[in-house]
């Protein structure tokens, strides 16, 4: 349950960061290998007796991400040309030219199936492969293994194949038959695949296990042979009877060609072979596995997961307290808003009216100087208060501004009827009449944006884009520090924002890069100062190597310190505990 929710959370997060990757189910059924038992019939030549295929579940395929969910139309289109139906009355012609020796399952037998529940792969066994395009492949493999390819001693493994006909690992062998010419019949087991290399790589494995299968069949048949010989020694019979090679096979009418079931006296032979072959395909496919590492999740991902988990725990706590009550009400206004803010951008679309679309848009509306001040306060971790009558507009402002910060540094109260303290939120939306406490308005660690309606008397707004025609923004702060020097991150963002050549997407990726870059510096500083507790001198060295010194150094350091609060708990606790074990001693 929790796992599912976490994944859900990630999905939402992906959407939020624009990195979503969707797995759509394409309508593909795949087989990467099949196994078949073939027989060289005295009357009919090489024949396929029994074939086990692996049918794969529809595959997750990487597909283009984009807004919205692909409609049914898309999938309909995918399928066009694939939905080909062919019918054939196969059994009739087939039976005409068949004897007992050429047959495994009776024509009426539906075949066998085994399902691998873990992967959904279905292993199907029939006399012939079900997919017509594989029919000729198997037929080809059968004919080649029993009448074309030469194996010294006639029993043993061969690999052969080409790109047109597929590739085959074949193992030929004899089965004792009291009634057959030379007292034995010739069989082969073929493994067919298109992946030449894979099949060759699997040679030792296949050989090892097919030998077991073959020996088992041979031994069983040998016992039957021996017992039959006791009852009726054929050699003597044949010596005594008038023998004509031309009619020989037909002389033994009725038993002209015996089935493998009869040769082994194994009534469930085909079911057992199905199991053996299915197992072989599965074991061969999973013989080698890869351990492939991905990058560690970003801090943003970790924080989102942690918050989601916390919320779930809170929710389940309420559930327990209220006996599974339906609607948990307490402090809903706040928590739900916070949640929406973090996870769901879609909600704000419900609110009508003008909105900020991007940082660049915000910058254009506020002007470069006011924007700089605002962004500076955001990055330093100061409380940014927006006060105005339009919650939609304020939310959209926070929405674009929060992109400046790591997720872990964002604590927002979107729209509140009263002031909230700075430790609770660094983004605060207020309705126009809410007073700001004096200690806040006089603090250099906060800034206020008042959104004032421009009196125009006009009912219809000209357009949503034209925010300035509707509102006026007054920015105020008690801060006396210069905001034009640093931090370095802000300087770089401003370059990107002011360059109209760069699309909004480029700017946001650029911002992502910068944030990750600075987050990595934050990690180092955290490790250095909080975990290892190094002195000032060393810390200065680290700041220098991180490129945080120089112009705007003071702002850089403030930013790093603020961002440290946004590190995930997991990361912090990991560094605090695990890493200590591996510390080098100073002598090293």
């Amino acid at each position: 349950m929790k796992q599912l929710k976490t994944i859900d959370c990630i999905k939402r997060w992906r959407h939020f960061t624009g990195t979503s990757r969707r797995y759509s189910c394409t309508q593909l059924v795949k087989m990467n290998a099949l196994v078949a038992l073939c027989h060289f019939c005295e009357l009919h030549g090489p024949r396929t007796l029994f074939c086990t295929e692996a049918v794969h579940p529809p595959s997750p395929s990487p597909s283009q991400s984009g807004p919205g969910i692909p409609g049914d139309r898309d999938r309909e289109a995918d399928r066009e040309g694939e939905g080909l139906t062919m019918r054939a009355n196969s059994s009739a012609t087939q039976r005409a030219d068949m004897c007992e020796g050429c047959r495994s399952l009776p024509a009426s037998h539906p075949g066998f199936v085994s399902v691998d529940s873990e992967t959904g792969i279905r292993y199907l066994s029939h006399q012939h492969p079900r997919q017509p395009q594989l029919f000729s492949v198997v037929r080809q493999a059968c004919v080649r293994s029993l009448s074309c390819e030469v194996c010294p001693g006639r029993e043993g493994p061969i690999f052969f194949g080409d790109e047109q006909h597929g590739f085959v690992f074949s193992h030929t062998f004899f089965i004792k038959d009291n009634l057959a010419r030379g007292f034995q019949r010739w069989y082969s087991i073929v493994v067919v695949a298109m992946d030449r290399i894979y099949l060759i790589n699997s040679w030792p494995f296949l050989l090892r296990h097919l030998r077991l299968t073959i020996q088992s069949l041979q031994n069983t048949a040998l016992k039957v042979f021996d017992s039959e010989q006791c009852v009726c020694p054929q050699r003597a019979v044949r010596m005594n009877s008038a023998f004509s090679p031309a009619v020989f096979p037909h002389q033994r009418s009725g038993n002209a060609a015996r089935s493998l079931t009869s040769l082994t006296q194994h009534p469930n032979l085909w079911a057992s072979l199905h199991s053996s072959f299915s197992w072989l395909l599965k074991a061969c496919g999973s013989r080698l596995t890869e351990k492939l590492l991905e990058g560690a999740p970003t801090e943003d991902t970790l924080v989102l997961i942690e918050r989601q988990t916390e919320q779930e725990e809170e929710m389940s706590g309420w559930d327990g307290a209220e006996g599974g009550g339906s609607n948990p009400q307490p402090s809903q206004s706040e928590s739900v808003q916070v949640k929406d803010f973090q996870f769901d951008d879609g909600r704000q679309e419900d609110l009508l009216g003008p909105k900020f679309k991007s940082l660049r848009h915000l910058r254009q509306v506020l002007g470069a100087s006011d924007f700089r001040q605002l962004a500076w306060h955001v990055l330093m971790g100061n409380q940014v208060i927006w006060r105005g009558a339009d919650p939609g507009l304020i939310q959209s402002a926070f929405n674009v501004l929060k992109a400046l910060l790591p997720v872990g540094c964002v604590r927002a109260v979107l729209y509140s009827p009263h002031y909230e303290e700075a430790y609770r939120c660094n983004f605060l939306g207020l309705s126009p009449d809410v007073p700001i406490p004096a200690h806040v308005s006089s603090s250099e660690f906060s800034m206020l944006v008042d959104v004032l309606n421009v009196e125009r008397g006009c009912v219809n707004p000209i357009s949503d884009d034209d925010i300035l025609s509707l509102y006026q923004f007054n920015i105020s702060s008690a801060n006396t520090q210069p905001t034009d020097k640093g931090p370095t991150l802000l300087n770089k963002i401003e370059v990107a924002l002011s360059n109209e050549n760069l699309s909004v997407e480029v700017v946001s990726l650029c911002l992502l890069c910068l944030k990750e870059e600075w987050m990595n510096k934050v990690k180092v500083l955290f490790k250095f100062s909080k975990v290892d507790g190094r002195g000032k001198e060393d810390t200065q060295k680290v700041l220098a190597l991180l490129g945080a010194t120089g112009p705007g150094e003071e702002d850089n350091v403030r930013l790093l310190k603020f961002w440290m609060t946004g590190l995930s708990k997991l990361y912090k606790s990991h560094l605090m505990t695990a890493v200590r074990g591996g510390e080098r001693t100073l002598s090293q």
Partner: protein
């Protein structure tokens, strides 16, 4: 015969050694046993419709006659184990080149010819690959059979060569005894032929009389058309098939990345595409390089297609296997897991033989013609033997850093410490020249497999924040859509992740062994690949009679008298239960049996043949029944099974083949996202059953249904649902670190000589490198071991003596002053990256934190590459200044970031070209 040197090296490269070893000493040999060059035999055979079969070459029939060492058979002299198989040194000292005696081909050639061509020759005109195992004496034979292609002007083909052979054998019927010496002035060949010591002076003097090529008239056979795709009728089935059908089935594969821009999944995607490309679903679908032929003319003229099929040439390599069981096993494991490399070298050999044949045809005098031919082929065989020997015997990095960190998490701290220590030493060594920065720039640009390892995972970490999670997506993919992990690994090592596909190797050159080994060690962190695990049955399990591979396991050998089954299971009841379960897995079986039973009874009783299609949709998936039927009392239940079979037979007279993809998925497949496909499928099956039953309830009207109205889904069900379900045998597996994989074998150590296969290795002299590199790179593009088309092959050459790094490319560009390649521009991002790691380490920060930081910084490179890709999307011109100001990307970083970007945004390469 263990040599002294052999004893000096430990047996196995893998599984021994620990992180504490000094890098300089920790190089080990791969092979457990000596490998003899004479173990490799070459046979070239021709099968001609008109003339039958002829041996065109058999290395076993060639013996060296050397006046100075008359008895020595050079191929029997194994190269010293410490070094690679050497080229050169001794050959030049000898005044008298050896001479060769060609005796009658060995007695087994007839049989071998049969095996190569088969008793019935094929009409297929592409190349065919075969591998035979010969039991006694134990040998492996790899053959490639080619159709021949001649230029129009010389349609005589190999005839001239053959004629020479034949005229000689006629002229000297007492061939075997007549041993003479022939002298060929072959100075150019001489210098080329100074290969291995065994080969010294091979191409000196040859006597034509010894060359006997026996024509095997009896082996002549007529080509037989095999049943193949596109024929209208198939042998014993009567299934109508048509060429148009085949072409429809062969729906084109999605081109790599064409519709994929998210940038998270290059490695996932590569594997998925591979699974697609090698799928049997479309039937055989020639992927590439299928028209490989044996060229008998240097002009690429088209010729009469009728003549093409007449002649085939087979090239066979026969490897004698070691006598000892364990050595035999080890070599075979190595051979089969490394087959793509063997094959690539065989292709090279084939090209050399082609050239030899073409070349010798220009020579008028027939004895000389044969001599030139033999010299050339022997030379090529020498190369092949040496390459194979090197591949098997060369020293390896015993503890590649990245793989060791992946597989041994307990040793992680020690590994990190050692890695950083070595890196610091190296950085200090080449500080002025930015040697390491340049080298890492090149390595990160071309060995791109590091990129997926830093792409942020979006899944919660399982263990701790710093431990990279194993990719669950890839894991799931591997289970449901098998691709070859060895193939994936090879691509990783060669860095074949970008678009277009490029493959790269790195060679570290230098006289100072320790220094070269240090560089190799450090690079083994950056040249990455997945680690492989092998899951096999435990040895004891193999002999267990209950082994799933044994179909006659609990089957009794002496037939026991039939027991009477207590209550005979009613198959219908069982099926009903199963269906009921499927419909409502949580309810108690039996509650709604009646209702379902009704459905089913209607179904089976149905006498209307045309409704059989519909009714067959609800075939039982009767696990329980199957278990009862195939449990312990297999014998006695046989009758029960027959009974069931008989009951269902009416349904099967009409078989429906359905190709393609019926609608099957709702969006539910996505609901789980990355979570298992298995449960999704189960759910789907249940839903499908439900749908079918609902349909069946109203299926009385199905009689009049036209084909069009019969939904594809139903057809799909009809074929999917009816088989008897048996449980998949469970089996016990032992998981162990795989030994024979490329991650362990292609990261070479300090070798005496350049070798073409290794993703990374060190050499002391660039003599052979200079000789071979360009042709190796060209060969790689033509015959990539990777089994997929390659656009460019590259080699990074890092010279630790001169502290220079160059990149050599198969796309030959003129380089000044006879230099191999172009110098690498140091990426500023890479330089600052390693500098800051170095500084952190110097500040005495825990080394595993430093490594984490290194990974974080590599991840920054990935993010930057995404910015660059996005920037380039809408751009026709790249403003470098803009990149620098806004994205922090300098011109020196662009090649690196563009290469990284091409792994997730294939369009980047096109824009930057």
């Amino acid at each position: 015969m263990p040599t002294l040197l052999q004893k000096l090296f430990s047996k196995r490269a893998v599984g021994s050694g620990s992180a504490r070893d000094c890098s300089t000493a920790a190089e080990q040999c791969w092979a457990s046993a000596e490998f003899d060059l004479a173990q490799i035999r070459l046979i070239v055979y021709q099968d001609c419709e008109r003339r039958g079969r002829q041996v065109l070459f058999d290395s076993k029939a060639i013996h060296k006659l050397d006046t100075s060492e008359p008895t020595a058979d050079e191929t029997k002299t194994p190269p010293t184990r410490s070094g690679a198989c050497h080229i050169g040194s001794q050959a030049s000292e000898k005044d008298k080149p050896p001479t060769y005696q060609y005796t009658r081909p060995a007695s087994d050639v007839n049989m071998l010819g049969e095996m190569m061509f088969g008793s019935v020759s094929m009409s297929y005109k592409g190349s065919t690959l075969k591998i035979h195992h010969i039991r006694s004496p134990p040998q492996l034979m790899v053959s490639k059979v080619f159709s021949t292609r001649f230029g129009s002007s010389t349609s005589g083909s190999t005839n001239t060569l053959q004629d020479s052979f034949e005229s000689m054998s006629q002229a000297f019927p007492s061939h075997a005894s007549s041993i003479g010496v022939c002298r060929v002035p072959s100075a150019p060949l001489l210098c080329l032929a100074r290969s291995a010591s065994f080969f010294a002076g091979l191409c000196g003097m040859l006597k034509p009389r010894e060359h006997v090529l026996i024509s095997h008239a009896h082996a002549h056979s007529n080509p037989v058309d095999m049943p193949s795709r596109g024929h209208s009728e198939d042998g014993d089935s009567g299934i109508a098939r048509s060429a148009s059908l085949s072409s429809l089935l062969a729906t084109p594969l999605p081109s790599p990345g064409s519709s994929f821009s998210s940038g998270c999944a290059s490695s996932y995607q590569r594997r998925w595409l591979r699974s697609q490309a090698t799928s049997l679903q479309h039937g055989p679908m020639p992927r590439w390089n299928t028209e490989e032929m044996f060229s008998l003319s240097d002009e690429s003229c088209s010729s009469n297609p009728a003549t093409i099929r007449r002649k085939k040439i087979a090239i066979s390599i026969i490897i004698s296997l070691p006598e000892r069981e364990e050595e035999n096993h080890n070599f075979q494991e190595f051979f089969f897991s490394h087959f793509p490399l063997f094959e690539s070298h065989m292709n090279k050999l084939k090209t050399a033989i082609e050239r030899a044949m073409i070349l010798c045809r220009r020579i008028a005098e027939s004895s000389q013609r044969v001599q030139v031919y033999l010299c050339r082929v022997m030379e090529a065989l020498g190369e092949f033997r040496m390459t194979v020997w090197n591949l098997y015997m060369a020293p390896r990095i015993s503890e590649p850093v990245w793989l060791s960190m992946t597989s041994q998490s307990t040793e992680r701290n020690l590994l990190c410490q050692r890695f950083l220590k070595e890196m610091s030493v190296l950085m200090d060594h080449g500080a002025k020249s930015q040697f390491l920065s340049a080298l890492l720039t090149a390595v990160l640009t071309h060995h791109l497999a590091w990129v997926p390892t830093v792409m942020p995972s979006s899944l919660p970490p399982i263990k701790s924040a710093c431990q990279k999670p194993a990719s669950q997506t890839v894991d799931l993919l591997a289970k449901s859509h098998p691709y070859n992990p060895l193939w994936a690994q090879l691509g990783d090592l060669y860095g074949a992740l970008g678009s277009p596909v490029r493959v790269c190797r790195t060679v570290v050159l230098g006289r100072r062994r320790e220094l070269v080994q240090r560089v190799l060690y450090i690079l083994s962190y950056f040249i990455r690949c997945s680690d492989l695990q092998e899951h096999v049955q435990p040895q004891g399990q193999m002999k267990n009679p209950d082994n799933p591979a044994n179909p006659c396991s609990s089957q009794t050998t002496d037939p026991t008298p039939e027991k009477t089954l207590p209550p005979k299971p009613d198959p219908l009841k069982h099926t009903a239960c199963v269906i009921e379960k499927a419909l409502n897995p949580e309810s108690v079986p039996g509650t709604s049996v009646e209702q379902n039973n009704e459905t089913l009874l209607t179904d089976t009783k149905s006498t209307n043949p045309s409704s059989s299609l519909e009714s067959s949709a609800v075939r039982p998936e009767c696990t329980e029944m199957a278990q009862e039927c195939f449990g312990e009392d297999t014998d006695s239940v046989g009758g029960g099974l027959e009974h069931i079979l008989a009951n269902q037979s009416p349904l099967l007279h009409r078989v429906q083949f359905h190709i393609g993809s019926p609608r099957e998925t709702e969006n539910e497949g996505q609901a789980g996202g990355l979570s298992g496909a298995g449960c999704g499928l189960d759910r789907k099956l249940h839903q499908r059953l439900l749908t079918d039953i609902q349909r069946n309830e109203s299926s009385d009207s199905a009689l009049g249904d036209s084909d069009e109205e019969t939904s594809q889904r139903e057809l799909y069900m009809a074929t999917e649902q009816k088989e008897y379900e048996l449980p998949l045998p469970s089996y016990q597996v032992e998981s162990r670190a795989s030994v024979n994989h490329f991650g362990r074998s292609l990261l070479g150590g300090y070798c005496p000589q350049y070798m073409p296969d290794f993703a990374l290795h060190g050499i002391s002299s660039d003599l052979r490198l200079k000789q071979c590199l360009m042709s190796d790179l060209e060969h790689t593009v033509l015959h990539p071991a990777l089994d997929e088309p390659v656009a460019e092959a590259l080699c990074i050459v890092a010279d630790t003596d001169r502290l220079s790094v160059q990149v050599v490319t198969s796309q030959r560009r003129v380089c000044e002053g006879g230099r191999l390649g172009r110098d690498v521009m140091v990426s500023n991002l890479v330089h600052t990256l390693i500098t800051s790691v170095r500084q952190l380490y110097a500040l005495n920060i825990a080394s595993d934190f430093c490594v984490m930081h290194l990974e974080d910084r590599l991840q920054e490179l990935y993010f930057k590459s995404r910015s660059l890709a996005e920037y380039l999307r809408g751009q026709t011109r790249v403003h470098v200044k803009e990149l620098g100001l806004a994205l922090g990307i300098e011109s020196s970083d662009i090649p690196l970031l563009a290469a990284v970007a091409s792994t997730h945004s294939p369009y980047v390469a096109q824009i930057l070209l």
